[in-house]
């Protein structure tokens, strides 16, 4: 992955980064299953072979059967989420579907972008909120939707609105909602296994002693290693998910420029939105917002890159010229 020399190479680099991050999840999941096995061997839930090397080999053999089960569970979980995703989002945000007659200018902006891209126009929804925000939802063709807030319609001019719509459309084109749901499910399973490992240690710790008194040292080592893997895995799962989310945001900004050819409008829209984007919504929707101002914490755990970084990227790769307001206005 060489240094990006323009918009397209920047998008390619970010897509490669996203693919690598996503591929990390199954690896992490298998690692967690391995840790759970070590814990069980150490705590007496699984039979021990009597030697540490033998135990590790036993755990690895078990893994060959347990890992596919874990992946299958993840797929099943994803299937359920797939079915109920849209209903949950609509219920939680109170978004209303609007048609061309209700919002002609907005609908035309969206439709023109879709026509130029050769795709079916997704549903358009509006939230009656004063906050400035927008998001894309939907997991498959025919169920895609772009939602904007009333506040956004009032605050942005035509070009800026077009840039925001193009950003959300890029999320739809790249199937980012599906990617983030997959990431959320993986992260959920991994953190669940980690919590189970901690839980087993909490009330399983007292009951040990009888069976494996012969190999006390090895058992404790296994338990410690399992604990370490669980802790690292827990944090890593969240960090991978958030880094993936930020990567998709950069690509969506770049995609907006590809659609509208107008990086300056995206930059000025981001400036206006920054600081005014707070809405109540479930987690799965938050990462699809155009800006998620909830976090002030460590940037590793942020779903969105900071606005300053997004503007800098637009200037570096999108040809944007930042007209930061000078002393005269």
């Amino acid at each position: 992955m060489s240094q990006a020399i323009g918009l397209q190479t920047y998008i390619w680099n970010n897509n490669l980064r996203s693919a690598v991050l996503l591929a990390g999840f199954p690896v992490l999941l298998i690692g967690m299953v391995f840790a759970a096995e070590l814990l069980l061997i150490g705590a007496g839930g699984l039979p021990s072979t009597g030697s540490m090397g033998g135990d590790v080999a036993y755990a690895l053999r078990l893994l060959a059967g347990a890992a596919p089960l874990a992946i299958a569970a993840a797929l099943a979980w994803f299937g359920v989420a797939y079915l109920f995703n849209q209903a949950i989002i609509d219920l939680a945000t109170g978004a209303r579907k609007v048609d061309r007659a209700a919002e002609p200018q907005l609908y035309n902006l969206l439709e023109n972008l879709c026509i130029s891209r050769g795709m079916r126009t997704p549903d358009l929804r509006i939230i009656d909120s004063e906050a400035l925000n927008a998001f894309a939802t939907g997991l498959h063709e025919g169920r895609f939707s772009v939602t904007v807030t009333r506040g956004l319609l009032g605050a942005l001019d035509r070009d800026e609105l077009e840039a925001v719509l193009a950003h959300e459309l890029t999320h739809i084109i790249n199937r980012d909602v599906r990617t983030m749901v997959i990431a959320a499910i993986f992260a959920g399973i991994i953190t669940l296994i980690a919590e189970l490992i901690f839980r087993v240690l909490m009330w399983g710790g007292g009951r040990r002693g009888g069976r494996d008194s012969g190999k006390g040292g090895g058992a404790i080592l296994f338990v410690v290693v399992a604990l370490a893997i669980a802790a690292v895995g827990y944090v890593l799962a969240i960090v991978i998910r958030m880094t993936l989310s930020r990567s998709r945001e950069f690509v969506a900004d770049a995609g907006s420029v590809q659609l509208t050819k107008n990086p300056d409008a995206m930059i000025s829209a981001l400036r206006k939105i920054s600081g005014h984007s707070r809405i109540e919504a479930p987690d799965s929707v938050r990462s699809m917002f155009i800006d998620n101002s909830d976090e002030g914490v460590m940037s590793l755990f942020a779903t969105h890159p900071p606005i300053a970084k997004r503007i800098a990227a637009l200037e570096a790769y999108g040809g944007g010229r930042s007209a930061a307001p000078g002393p005269w206005g």
Binding site: S2, I5, G6
Partner: protein, 187 residues
Amino acid sequence: MTGTIILIVIVVVVGLVLIGIYNRLVALRQNANQAFADVDVQLTQRRDLIPNLVETVKAYASHESATLQAVTAARTAAASAGSVQDKVAAENMLTGALRQLFAVSEAYPDLKANENFARLQDELSDIENKLAAARRFFNNAVSEFNAGIQQFPAVLMAAPMGFKEREFFDVGEGDRVAMATPPPVKF
């Protein structure tokens, strides 16, 4: 035996790398082509507005026949231009002729009050903005492609593979001089 296997692996890897570079350059070249076509879309829209504009101005400012003829002639030249360079040159001439036309229209208050003229002026202004954006996007795409064929190791095989540097959508010498001289302000 292991020697031949290693050799085969090296050949396969080098082949894959070459294919990767070639496909990447093709994609970047296509981006530049498409970006130019998008500039063309705006240029066509602009040319389509001109007959209406010329008729509206003629109704109020028939003395300015020289300027009007310049616009019409530039439009015809732009519509029939062949190569990319001719196209760029012709469109730059048309931009200059239009600028002249609007400057001249300032002297006719009846014309400026005409609703049709005001609407056409707004539409042309909108198209000029979109045109500027499309040209910047095209230039960025060209810059990316040119950098792509000049970077190592692509530079070693770009020429034999048939990739040549592209030209930017240049404003043109005459226009650059014209834009550098400030317009005279008469009160």
